[in-house]
Amino acid sequence: MTALRRVEPAARVVWPPLALCALLVVTWALVDGFGDVVYKDTAVRLFLTLIIVLGLQIFSGNSGVLSFGHIAFMAIGAYMSALLTIPPDIKKFTYLSMPSWLGSWILPAKLSPLEATLAGAGVATLFALITAAPIVRLAGVEAGIGTLALLIIVYVFDVQTSAITRGTSTQIGVPQTTTFVSVLVWALIFIGVAFAFKQSRRGLRLRASRENVRAAKSVGVRVSVERAVAWVLSGFVVGVAGALYGHYFVTFGPDDFFFNQGFNIVLLTIVMLVVGGMTSVTGAVVGCYFVTVIYEAFRRWEVNGLGDVRPPSGTGNFVLAVVLILTLVLRPNGITGGRELAWPGDWSLDSLRRLKARSGGGDSVAAESAK
């Protein structure tokens, strides 16, 4: 018993990420064991979006600054990784007008999937580094608009610079190297990264600035620096997601990384984070599962029908919106209330009641900023 006591503090620290990883592994095992192709596809997309949401959590969750711009990192990761892995024979014909200073090293390149993923994420990180200076100075609605402007800039670049991106045409010859296991492994890694960052000194300083910028500054927190670190780190995470996305869907174009009529990745990833509870990694995972399950359930219902009942097509998206509004109304701080998964020893009806009573306290930025 005493031995258990001694490991408990350490176990408490690693409990939430381990539990979340276990959830992911169980999902993987179940779907891989029993699911058909459709379920596997859904699960891969779930893990892909989860990586993006984790990236968003690293920046927005810890800093309290909203970002619409992270999908731009995804686009950069996807394009860069694809450019470096398409067989040179194909590239010679699809990128006829690539400028020579790029073509000289991109056209003959043939990297392995992992190298290309890291290269794509690396370029995304570089872009994050360049854009960090203006972005970290913004907050609130201004940050939303500034990051949106960033997204639009990258989108316009993708569409218009056809010499490098093939414009609105889709990519040809991208090898499909992203597997179910590889997205799982990356997602597990990033759960660890997101959690480690949140618990690190930098993460703590950033969270302090989220709760009260002036108070944080008064104790010596350099808010711009902390935000910039989170911005760059999340740029890498989302860049990896982009590279994996590119090598999973193979044919992709600029519209995949913008406000898209089908699955609106820009908005839905943010919605997932906020609905789950943006201040915790648990919230990111829960929100991602929650939204994906609702979205997929309705989509499947529309396609297959349930008995004789089949809702008019498009109902799923509408119901999703209604559920989101309901969730935000009932739990403005997200399903988890912005907390991490509690230690099993602390589970009780009593604590649940307390949690309900002071929903909005604890690790939540909303309670502060509402004032």
Partner: protein, 353 residues
């Protein structure tokens, strides 16, 4: 010169400067005669966005909400016009304004009232959810329009509201071609802007609204009823959105579920550039951006057009970072203040609310 009159001067000076600039640039590019004609068109287009940006700024000031569902009000207006096209123009206009206003009020009652005290981020996400929901409703077959999203084409089929020939036909006024719609746009937006100004300055409701914009809690403490003021703000923006929808749809003719997105972005960005914090500034920003976009798209060669947006949004980021209160807030000692901004530390995460 006190703050109010300084701002007034800045806004009206900005309007005049934009008009002169657009005339000058267009005349240089396409020649004087056509230049004036393009100018009139650009100004009519710009004044539409002035009204839209005003609606956005009103809500932003009163409750810290950046309402993305505003575009869906325009879209709803377009559908009402599509269905009531046969009722004659007066019936169509009344019905459109009525439905859009009711929709705006319902939006507040159902979605925004319960989350009013939540953080700006939650408000923003709620407005996205509302926008998404209404848009998805339009994509479904609920209205029997078979507007189903077709992923192979990338968009759904478009419906149209046929323009009235007597409204859009151009006639010659001293060598310049003008349409009745342009004149109507000027008159309607002018009346709306003046009317709203009078409402804000002269009526009790207006004073309550302005007090709430400045300090919502303080206004409540002095007896302003929160529900009433916010409902009123949504009602006003609903009327504005209805008017914009009519003028915009009569101009473009197209009706589709995503039709509200484009104008929303322009008004949104324009409002930020001008300064969402002040109603006049936002209106000016929407006006300038709308006019410039229209002027550029009419005159720029295709090769230049492609990357214009890219640079436009770089400018937006620069303005956000350097003059976060919008261009209206610039004063005589602008350079000195700008330098202080550059060295300034980041804004609080609570945002501008």
């Amino acid at each position: 010169m006190n703050e109010a009159s300084r701002r007034y001067a800045a806004v009206s000076g900005g309007f005049v400067a934009t008009v002169l600039l657009v005339v000058l640039v267009l005349s240089l590019i396409v020649g004087a005669g056509e230049g004036i004609q393009y100018t009139l068109d650009s100004l009519a287009y710009g004044s539409l966005f002035a009204v839209m940006a005003l609606g956005l700024a009103l809500l932003f000031n009163v409750m810290g909400l950046m309402n993305f569902a505003y575009g869906e009000l325009i879209m709803a207006g377009a559908y009402v016009m599509y269905f009531t096209r046969s009722w004659g123009w007066l019936g169509m206009i009344l019905m459109t304004v009525l439905v859009v206003t009711i929709l705006s009020l319902l939006m507040e009652l159902i979605a925004f009232r319960p989350v009013r005290d939540a953080s700006p981020v939650v408000l923003l996400v709620t407005s996205f959810a509302v926008s998404y929901g209404i848009q998805q409703l339009a994509w479904t077959d609920v209205f029997g329009l078979a507007h189903r999203f077709d992923s192979t084409i990338g968009t759904g089929p478009q419906k149209g509201v046929e323009p009235y020939p007597w409204l859009t036909n151009q006639f010659d006024v001293g060598g310049v071609l003008v349409s009745r719609l342009e004149i109507a746009t000027f008159i309607v937006t002018g009346v709306l802007l003046v009317g709203l100004t009078l409402l804000l300055k002269k009526t009790t409701l207006g004073i309550q609204l302005r007090a709430s914009s400045e300090d919502f809690r303080m206004a409540q403490l002095t007896g302003v009823r929160a529900n009433w003021v916010i409902s009123a703000a949504f009602g006003i923006t609903g009327v504005l959105a209805g008017a914009v929808a009519i003028l915009y749809i009569l101009r473009t003719g197209a009706v589709a579920p995503d039709i509200g997105q484009g104008p929303l972005f322009v008004a949104f960005v324009g409002g930020v550039i001008g300064g969402l914090g002040s109603l006049g500034g936002a209106a000016l920003g929407g006006f300038v951006l709308g006019a410039i976009i229209n002027a550029l798209s009419a005159t720029l060669p295709i090769t230049l057009k492609s990357h214009t947006q890219l640079f436009a949004f770089l400018v937006v980021i620069a303005i956000l970072v350097l003059v976060p209160n919008g261009l209206v807030s610039i004063r005589g000692d602008a350079v000195k203040r700008l330098w202080r901004r550059v060295r300034r530390s980041p804004a609080p995460a609570e945002g501008a609310a």
